[in-house]
């Protein structure tokens, strides 16, 4: 049955109009939109760097960019995409917008802190952009010492400080979300009635709160090491450059889960909605998020198998890396089983989910290759790794982000985008993505090292294929910009619940009221109670 929602002409977008009302807002929905703007800017910036990289690599010689410029390009591509797109995309944009709505709260627990997080994020981004304008940085996004502390002559300090600042935005957002999920749920919204997106955000917040301070202090040590030459990471003074790698990956491996867990949560939401049934094995999906978050902290040294760690510790980290794959596999199987006997509605968000399933599957399974010690020796630092993490972080995380954006866009803006165009974008991205990164697995096994500006001619065929794929991918990523912007003005009115979905966010009008709900909702059943609806069973 459908509840009729009394639409008020006043909503969170049009109740105040001034620029100041946006820049000083405490409203989680508006802050979500603010993040959307910055994250999209960063995404296109990072995309331009990627385009230049792929263009350079169409020929074996270094003919388009100089070696120095090329190194800056891949570094800034990595820094921008990791810290300013992948980490914030789903939690800060979609999480901020949808999470309080989904648990029936008026706002997050600390709205002022939430706004502050956005400012911190934006200032960090501006620092990083400044470093780019001043000539960029060439250390790789991993900032490995001693190159970053002594070797490099680029703007390591400013970039390092920019990322350091941004870290606090992550920490505060994680803290805010955890408290919100603990304390702000509507009456009746028990833990096991929570939508799985909320579970995923909770697990992510845990990682943000526990992991980000470590990268913050590590970058601080790097900044001081570079500025004052203290010797902490300098072998000539008795320091240990590999210690940096341990500290860096202690955050940055869990950070992979910051990037992938929230999109996984989005997938659970969208797959339930467009299969019109419960997520199969709800509690297994929920707890697998927590398992991933916890195990994620125990596998960092699998990035260091060739860095000179003892073979016995390598054994342990390899084993734990296999273990962390299991909860991801469980999720995938549960999503597949969710489709069984569903009533599958082929709408744009669902197309992105299909894309996600295919790409995440490949990304996850190729992770097993890298967890395998004997194979990782050959594969690490080659294009195999590049392909693997792009399948997870772009194929998985960005696909999930796009699924979520297409799912909640009508709620955010009150307008429908063109469904056919959306499906076309999903298809272009899927095809382009596989063509871009598929050949890179083969390149990697052939031995092409990553971060190579020039390469031996026998690798050219696969590189040309990859660059061709990237151009299709680029079209797929630019397309939504047009139909989203078009929908703002000309899109059909969405109404409160265009997808006929369950979930509290769909019970209020689109766009929602400034205070979310006319009155606090009371929850009486689980998140995906499609089968209780008075509709025909498929």
């Amino acid at each position: 049955m459908e509840t009729t929602v009394v639409e008020s002409p006043v909503n969170y977008i049009n109740h105040k109009h001034t620029v100041a009302s946006w820049l000083l807002t405490y409203d989680h929905k508006r802050i979500g939109i603010l993040y959307l703007i910055v994250v999209s800017t960063a995404f296109f910036l990072g995309g331009i760097f990627a385009a230049l990289i792929r263009l350079e690599l169409t020929t074996p010689a270094g003919d388009l960019l100089s070696a120095d410029v090329y190194n800056r390009m891949f570094t800034m591509h990595g820094v921008t995409m990791v810290f300013f797109v992948l980490v914030p995309a789903v939690p800060a944009v979609l999480g901020n917008f949808a999470m309080p709505l989904m648990i029936g709260a008026k706002d997050v627990a600390f709205p002022k802190l939430n706004l502050m997080s956005w400012y911190i994020f934006t200032i960090g981004f501006l620092f990083t952009v400044t470093s780019m304008i001043l000539g960029g940085v060439d250390t790789g996004w991993t900032f490995y010492t001693p190159y970053s502390s002594q070797g490099s002559e680029s703007n390591v300090l400013i970039t390092g400080i920019g990322v350091f600042i941004t870290g606090f935005s992550s920490i505060l957002t994680g803290l805010n979300f955890m408290v919100t999920i603990h304390r702000m749920r509507a009456p009746g919204m028990t833990w096991f009635r929570l939508p799985l997106f909320i579970w995923a955000l909770y697990a992510t917040s845990l990682v943000m709160v526990l992991g980000t301070p470590v990268i913050a202090i590590t970058l601080l040590m790097l900044v001081f090491e570079r500025g004052l030459h203290l010797g902490i990471f300098d072998p000539r003074l008795g320091g240990d450059p590999v210690l940096f790698q341990h500290l860096f990956w202690f955050y940055s491996h869990p950070a992979v889960y910051i990037m992938i867990l929230p999109p996984m949560g989005v997938i659970s939401e969208v797959i339930a909605c467009f299969s019109r049934k419960n997520v199969f094995g709800y509690s297994f999906v929920a707890f697998s998020s927590l398992a991933i978050a916890v195990f994620g902290f125990l596998v960092w040294a699998h990035h260091l198998f060739v860095a000179g760690i003892s073979p016995y510790s390598a054994l342990i980290f390899s084993f734990l890396s296999f273990a962390v794959a299991i909860p991801s596999a469980v999720k995938t199987f549960n999503w597949t089983a969710t489709l069984y006997k569903g009533a599958i509605w082929w709408k744009t968000p669902m197309m992105f989910v299909f894309g996600f399933l295919g790409l995440f599957l490949i990304g996850g399974l190729t992770g097993l290759f890298l967890a395998s010690l004997g194979l990782d020796i050959h594969l690490t630092d080659t294009y195999f790794v590049v392909a693997h993490f792009h399948y997870i972080m772009v194929g998985g995380a960005i696909m999930g982000y796009f699924a979520g954006l297409h799912f909640w866009w009508p709620k955010m803006t009150g307008r429908m985008y063109n469904d056919t165009m959306g499906k076309m974008a999903a298809l272009l991205i899927f095809v382009g993505f596989n063509l871009t990164f598929g050949p890179q697995f083969i390149l990697g096994y052939l031995g092409m090292p990553r971060r190579y500006h020039v390469y031996p001619p026998e690798f050219q065929v696969l590189n040309v294929l990859s660059s061709a794929g990237a151009s299709i991918l680029a079209v797929g990523y630019v397309l939504p910009l047009f139909y989203f912007l078009y929908s703002l003005k000309f899109g059909e009115k969405a109404g409160a619940n265009p997808w006929k979905a369950t979930g509290l966010e769909w019970t209020t009008q689109s766009p929602p009221l400034a205070e979310n709900f006319p009155a606090t909702p009371i929850v009486t059943e689980g998140a995906y109670a499609y089968s209780k609806r008075e509709m025909k069973v498929a």
């Binding site: 270094g62 060439d138 299969s275 395998s372 004997g374 080659t382 052939l446 006929k500 509709m535």
Partner: protein, 320 residues
């Protein structure tokens, strides 16, 4: 553009087939799972398609047997892969006993190789086919990584310590050497070639004296040992102010804090360059540090010389 194009790297060492079998094994296992999932997704997506959006799905919430099945089966398969991969790993990291040792130093942006017999090469490495070779290397500046795809071996070069790779070439030919750890501007120019030669050709190359300067590493090491006055303290009979170095290589050394270390190349290197780091039990802490006084080639020569000091006269030099 298609010259030399292939989809699979050359197998040119004894390790390569092992690694490749592991690779193909995992490809088979993962491809099976991928295909199964894709078939189910596509089949369900088409079979249960309903574009009205008006229907609802069957009220299925989950199944404990299925959950256990698809948790435990992948888990056991993972353990299988883990064990297999770890066996291969130990073959890669554990060099056999009798190896031909070669020293190498990475610096931006070149690889320098130093043979026991004194030959030096830059970005080229000549080795004989059918003999286990071990390359012991370090870096003079930032991180590098010695990677020979045809042999399936790789290790980071970390300044201040030694790393090692070993391989037994099985096929005569020329293969790429890459630097696989990003090291700055001309990282992608830090590449070289391994020349795997027939034994006879290799001997000819050795005696051809390409780049031969200053005698064998043993001779250089011996000269340095005298020149740096090591000989005044490290008396062979153990009566000097420093411990005797006869037979020290490969032995277990007890330090003044009670811990023990195995005297391998890394230990000797550290003891020469930063002597204050570890002091042998029963000796004064008086040895000066030689950091900055000898270069990497000199350290390697000294180590080779120390390795040669075995009880009962010089050991048979491994190069012979």
């Amino acid at each position: 553009m298609f010259s030399g194009f292939s989809l699979f790297p050359t197998q040119a060492s004894t390790l390569a087939p092992e690694v490749d079998n592991l690779y193909l094994g995992i490809v088979a296992i993962t491809a099976f799972f991928a295909v199964v999932v894709v078939i189910f997704v596509v089949y369900f997506a088409i079979k249960y398609r309903d574009d009205t959006g008006e229907k609802v799905g069957a009220p299925i919430t989950g199944s404990m047997p299925l959950e256990l099945g698809w948790s435990l089966i992948p888990f056991f398969i993972s353990i299988g892969i883990f064990v297999w991969a770890s066996v291969v790993f130990f073959h890669i990291v554990r060099a056999p006993d009798q190896t031909l040792d070669i020293y190498s130093t990475g610096k931006r942006w070149m690889w320098r190789f130093q043979h026991i017999d004194g030959q030096r090469e830059i970005n080229e490495l000549h080795v004989p086919v059918g003999r286990p070779v071990r390359v012991v290397f370090t870096s003079e500046d930032v991180l590098h990584d010695l990677f020979i795809p045809a042999f399936r071996v790789k290790a980071d070069a970390v300044p201040g310590r030694y790393s090692a790779i070993w391989f037994e070439p099985t096929q005569v030919g020329q293969y790429h050497i890459f630097c696989a750890e990003y090291c700055g501007t001309r990282h992608s120019g830090m590449i070289g070639t391994v020349y795997v030669m027939e034994q006879a050709d290799y001997q000819a190359w050795l005696s051809g004296g390409g780049g031969l300067t200053g005698g064998t590493m043993l001779q250089q090491g011996e000269a340095l040992f005298t020149q740096l006055a090591c000989v005044t303290c490290h008396l062979p009979d153990g009566t000097g102010r420093g411990p005797s170095l006869v037979g020290v290589f490969g032995s277990t050394v007890t330090l003044d804090n009670g811990s023990t270390v195995t005297a391998d190349e890394s230990y000797l290197r550290e003891s020469i360059l930063t002597s204050q780091a570890k002091t042998v039990k029963g000796f004064e802490h008086i040895m000066p540090t030689f950091q900055g006084l000898i270069n990497e080639d000199g350290v390697a020569a000294l180590i080779e010389y120390i390795k040669s000091m075995q009880a009962g006269g010089n050991r048979v030099a491994s190069a012979q």
